[in-house]
Structure formats: structure tokens, C-alpha cells
């Protein structure tokens, strides 16, 4: 690895440690070793609310559920909106109006509709992931070169073939980009959603609960985990993009 890339993180850790020693107040800034102690013992029950691993798994499960629903609804809708102008005209205005509303603004409505608990959280995650998936899918479908569709037509393709064998594969890199962005936002939403009243597990909950007990070491350790998972998610999906959609960058 390039040495220059690790200089700043190390400097940051050293500064953090020095600052923590100088402040000598773990409620404001916990020392590095306290946080590391929690991170390298993820199986230990924290503050009576389960282990770090358990809470992480709860958050991941929620993200996956909301994210999958967003994909299942967003991708087909995006394909139809991008391909059929009638469907576009039907949904476009509604989506343009709803799109700028931040997921968290939906919280009161979600609580009113689904009550305090799991469903509300899934709804918030769904909202967060849905729009990037939908919009990237639409852009992908609209960006399919017309000449590829015409080529398929002169080879005898019907509407179904064109959709399945030209439009969807051609737009799949954009769809994947939408999924990657959607996953990132969903991951941010889950943490926020878990801070809502009624939550009793998950990384977001752990952060808020630890805060109420002034356990900043647990707060920071949870934040580190959130960062690492978000990064892994993004890198993993980027890897798939590069590995399987290389043709996208190399079209002559």
C-alpha cells in the first residue's frame, strides 16, 4: 500500500490520543485504546444491550430488507418509466415532487402509519434507497443507444426481446450504480431510524443509548463500525461494476 495513504490516519490517531490525554475527560473524548478495546472484543455484551456484533447484524438485516424492497420496486418501475413514455408521464410528476423530501422528513408519517417499530424503520430505509435506484435505472434505460434497439429489430427482435436482451443489459451498469448509491443512503438511514423512539437494538440505538450513559467509547466504536461497513458496501459494489461491466468504459 502507498505509504502516503496511511500517514494522515496515523497522524489523526496520534492527535486524538494526545488530545484525549490532555483533556482527561472520557465523556468528551475517549482515549483511542478504550475504543480499540471495544472493537477487538466485539462479542462482549455492552451496556446490557447485546454485543457489538449482534447490534451490527440487526442493522445490516434492516438495511438489507429495506434495500431489497427498494430494488424490487425501483428497478422494474425505472425500466418501465424509461422505456414507455406513457408510464413516464403517469409517474414522473409524483416522483419529482417526492424526490427532494429527505427520508427523515417521513419519520412522523411513518410512525403514524406503521407505529413505533420495525416497519417504520424499514419504510425510512426504503425511501432512502428507492429514489437513487429509480432515477439511475431511468437514466440507464433512456441512455440505451437507439441504434442498438434498431439493430435488434432488424434481426427480428420483438418488444419482449428488446427489453430483456437489449435494454436491461445495456442499462445494467447504471442500475448497479443506482444500487450502490441507494445502499449507501440506506445505510445512513438505518442508523438515523434506529435513533428513533421505540428502537431497542442496532448500531444507531447503541449510539444513542451509550450517549445517554455518557459512554463515548461505545459511541465512537459504533461509529467506526458504521464507517467500515459503509465503505465495504461501496467498495464491494464498485468491484462488481468494474469486474462485470468493464465493457461500459471501453466502448469504441
Amino acid at each position: 500500500m502507498d505509504i502516503k495513504k496511511v500517514i494522515m490516519p496515523i497522524v489523526g490517531l496520534v492527535l486524538w490520543e494526545l488530545l484525549a490525554i490532555w483533556l482527561n475527560n472520557p465523556v468528551v473524548l475517549p482515549p483511542v485504546e478504550n475504543v480499540i478495546k471495544i472493537l477487538i472484543n466485539p462479542q462482549i455484551t455492552l451496556l446490557g444491550t447485546g454485543t457489538l456484533v449482534e447490534n451490527t447484524l440487526v442493522s445490516i438485516k434492516r438495511v438489507l430488507s429495506g434495500f431489497i424492497v427498494a430494488g424490487v420496486v425501483g428497478i422494474p418501475l425505472g425500466i418501465f418509466m424509461g422505456y414507455f413514455s406513457t408510464v413516464m408521464d403517469l409517474f414522473d410528476t409524483v416522483i419529482e415532487l417526492l424526490r427532494p423530501i429527505p427520508p427523515l422528513a417521513w419519520v412522523p408519517l411513518a410512525l403514524a402509519w406503521f407505529g413505533i417499530g420495525e416497519t417504520s424503520m424499514l419504510f425510512i430505509i426504503f425511501i432512502g434507497a428507492f429514489f437513487p435506484i429509480l432515477l439511475n435505472t431511468i437514466a440507464g434505460v433512456k441512455g440505451v443507444p437507439k441504434i442498438l434497439i434498431e439493430t435488434a429489430q432488424t434481426l427480428g427482435a420483438r418488444e419482449k426481446d428488446i427489453l430483456l436482451k437489449v435494454v436491461i443489459p445495456a442499462s445494467s451498469p447504471n442500475i448497479l450504480t443506482g444500487l450502490r448509491i441507494g445502499a449507501g443512503i440506506a445505510w445512513m438511514c438505518v442508523v438515523a431510524a434506529e435513533m428513533l423512539p421505540g428502537s431497542s437494538a442496532g448500531l444507531g440505538y447503541l449510539i444513542m443509548y451509550a450517549y445517554s450513559l455518557s459512554r463515548m467509547d461505545v459511541v465512537v466504536a459504533s461509529m467506526v463500525i458504521i464507517g467500515i461497513i459503509g465503505l465495504t458496501l461501496d467498495r464491494g459494489l464498485r468491484y462488481i461494476e468494474d469486474r462485470y461491466f468493464r465493457w461500459r468504459y471501453l466502448i469504441k
Binding site: 435488434a152 432488424t154 434481426l155 427480428g156 426481446d161 443489459p169 445494467s172 471501453l250 466502448i251 469504441k252
Partner: protein, 263 residues
Amino acid sequence: MENILEIRNVSKKFVSKKKEILAVDNITFNVKYNEFLSIVGPSGCGKSTLLRMIAGLEKPTSGEILMEGRRIEGPGAERGLVFQQYTLLPWRNVLDNVAFGLEIRGMPKKERYEIAKRFIKMIGLEGFEEAYPYELSGGMQQRVAIARTLANDPKIVLMDEPFGALDTQTRTILQHELLRIWEKEKKTVIFVTHSVDEAIYLSDRVIVMTARPGRIKDIIPIDLERPRKRDTLEFIEYRRRIVNILKDEVLKSYNMYNYSKDV
């Protein structure tokens, strides 16, 4: 029935917000079975539009096009079109590109790969079956596109300046190959080109079109034995004749661009 294709009084008008453009003006001609027909004309004379109408990708504004007595209403596999641009599906390798038409027809994998391989061999790309379009040169891509159209076994092969982007040497080889395939497979070919040489070398008849709006200026049968030699007196005479007809039209189209405000 002698004619595979009848083009009857076909006109095409493109209407945009600002103006109407008459691209093709009242064209009538027939194409015989197994004929090799070329269309030459100045840029913008509507030859590509004509080809696209035969392919069914555009509808004539008036007139009709009949294939084997039936009116053409849309694109279909019996009229394959080789585009001027590169049109391979970038996520498919050469084999799956060539087999595409057969695949959507529902032909089993083994069978369609067999046919595709035969055509890949024919265009001289044996060994490139697994290659992706981005790994191929422009000329190779165009050859794959030709193989893809031929493998689909259309009755009429429409070609829109298929060799336009290729270097002279590749072009000469592919012209030769195309004739060989045409003779062997008994296809009807309609070939749009800029090159008078190419048209004479390949065709039974050459249609010369006027500058926009595109009309038929002349139809010239080429009575030369194949394989043709480009340096014979007869060949040169044909070239002189067609170039002369064309020259006026090219000038006209040039003037049209210059004085378009007066038109």
C-alpha cells in the same frame, strides 16, 4: 415472381418544429431476386433513409414498399440491415453477437453456435469467438456485424456504407468476401455507398440518386463478368459515366448548402 422488392412512389418528409425536409421524393424501382444493387448519391440525398424505409425502421410519408407482394409495415428478420455505425452489443462476445438473431428466434444453443461459428470463420475471425467488441478494431467489429446479419439468414441484406470507416485494404478484402458470400448464399443485396468504384465492382445495377430531395437520376446496369478488374477499359468507362452524372448532383448539393437561405 421476378421481383423480391417493389418500391412504389415512395416519398419521405421529415417534419421538425422549424421546417419540413423532403428527404426522398417519389422513388420507384424494383429489385430482382438475387440481385446485387448499389445506390450512390451525394451526402444527404436520402439513400440511408431509403434503406431504413426498406428495413421498416422508417415509414414512407407516401407510397409503399412491397416485399414479395406484401407491404412492409415494420422491421423484420427477413430484411437484415448492416449499419454504418458500430452496432455490436458491447456486453456480448463475438459468438453471442453473431448468434443473437438466432437466439431470439429460439434456436437451441448448440445449433446457433454452430451456425455462428461458420460465419465467424467466413469473415476470417476464427479464434475471436470469445473476444468482446471493445477488444476488436473497427474493421473487425464491422465484419462481426456483417456475420451477425448473414447468420440470421435474411432474404434481403441491406447495407448502409458498411465499409465506410475501413481502410482501403480491409475494404477491398471485404468487398471480395461479400461477393463470395452473395454468390454462395443467393441473397439479394442492396448496398448504399459513397464510392463509385465500390458500386461498380460489386453490383448488377447502380442507382444514382440526385441531391436532396432524393430522386432517381439514373439506373445503370453493369454488364461486366465477375470477378471484375478495376483497371479494365470497361470498368473505367463505367466509372467515368457515373462520376459525371454524380458530379452535377454533388455540386448542386453543395450549392444548396451555400444558398440554403434562398431555397
